[in-house]
Symmetry: C2
Subunit: 242 residues, 2 copies
């Protein structure tokens, strides 16, 4: 008889990875927490340190943990579930996850409408626009960086208002626009370039989600055009199909 112990058919490192993932999921190591060192994990799981490293590499690949040389391996916060509905605001989404939403103005400038922006905003090509660049964070983790364009003629004080209130919703409210919604959202992905990497605190080569959105008022007239780049490892878009 062959009598071979019927191996589970799962490699050892995978078992270790699953075990660690289970511990994280059960709250054994909260987000941001440092995992035990590789040597300790190896002894605990009765396995070679290299096998632990393979397991951690797999978890890191999926964004569950992050290794910091010389310091330790840390549990990453779970990805923010980012529902793509017509009326969800960044602050609501992040707040719903029990995290503190923050915004940071990176800069503002005046630009003339390119053909594409003009088409989106239903303005003539070359129309004056205000461009506002901002960074958004959940607690201290950068989530996305992006630009918003709006008509300089209709909202001449947009930059000043945004600096004052730190919220595009309030900028529009100052102009009597109480309701606006997302009309269209297009999503693609790319690899973080040096700029993304710096502002989103990402490694170069990590994926970013690119969102092109258009917000409109209650009557469907275009208000804002957006180009936003999300750190893919910190966010997960949820599309609700009906």
């Amino acid at each position: 008889m062959s009598t071979l112990q019927p191996d589970s058919g799962v490699t050892l490192w995978r078992k270790v990875a699953d075990s660690i993932e289970r511990e994280i999921a059960q709250g054994g190591y909260p987000a941001g927490e440092k995992l035990p060192g590789e040597v300790e994990l190896a002894t605990v799981h009765r396995v070679n340190r290299h096998t632990v490293r393979r397991a951690l590499a797999a978890l890191a690949e999926r964004g569950l943990v992050r290794a910091e040389r010389g310091s330790g391996t840390y549990v990453e916060p779970g990805r923010i579930a980012y529902p793509l509905r017509s009326r969800t605001r960044f602050s609501e989404i992040v707040g719903a996850g029990g995290r503190e939403p923050r915004g940071q103005l990176l800069g503002a400038s005046r630009e003339d409408a390119t053909r594409e922006l003009a088409r989106e905003l239903d303005l003539p090509v070359g129309a004056p626009l205000i461009r506002i660049d901002g960074l958004r964070l959940a607690d201290s983790a950068p989530i996305c960086v992006g630009s918003t364009w709006l008509s300089a003629e209709r909202f001449p004080d947009a930059e000043e208002l945004y600096r004052r209130f730190g919220s595009m919703t309030k900028v529009l409210a100052q102009h009597g626009i109480r309701d606006y919604r997302r009309a269209s959202t297009r999503i693609t992905a790319a690899i973080a370039d040096a700029g993304d990497a710096a502002r989103l605190d990402l490694g170069i080569g990590r994926p970013v989600l690119i969102v092109e959105g258009l917000d409109v008022d209650g009557k469907g007239r275009p208000l804002l055009a957006l180009r936003t780049r999300f750190a893919a490892e910190r966010v997960q878009f949820v599309v609700e199909t009906e």
Copy 2:
């Protein structure tokens, strides 16, 4: 960068085994059906024949399939879920699974009560007993073989009645006992000996489940003592704890 393709950590043969098991579970191959040959399975799964063999060996180890040299590999019928309650009858259990329950009388004899049987049946040591040996099948698959002892003084015509009706329930009914139940069930396991192997159509060395049971009447008085050996690969006891 290491850039190692993040392997799933599951061996190829295990993936193939899971795939075949899924097909069986989804009814692609009904019980008793012959699977495609190893060569065909290998080409279908784009894998070496030896890898398929490893997968089939794992499934055979779990009793899902059975390989017959020179002929093919066949899907084993799923194990009968055999609930251990106080009032379940073999025929009901098998019938509930959509299979045809059958019984076969192997023999009957008179014995004197051993100390153990006497204690169970609440009779004096050496009291005359009738022993009935029977084989039970689901469709044509032997499920269990066992002996039943009952008092020869109380049920002198038990053998004749059992031959006539083929059912212990009806033997008791002829004596006015309309209700009886299982008072205790003890379970252990052993390896099939030559006798088991022959009568249960098992390979020698395969496991058998050994059940020692005592049936009592409505007032708790012992009626039957049973020793039954089940083909473990065809049955699965279900104990309902409350």
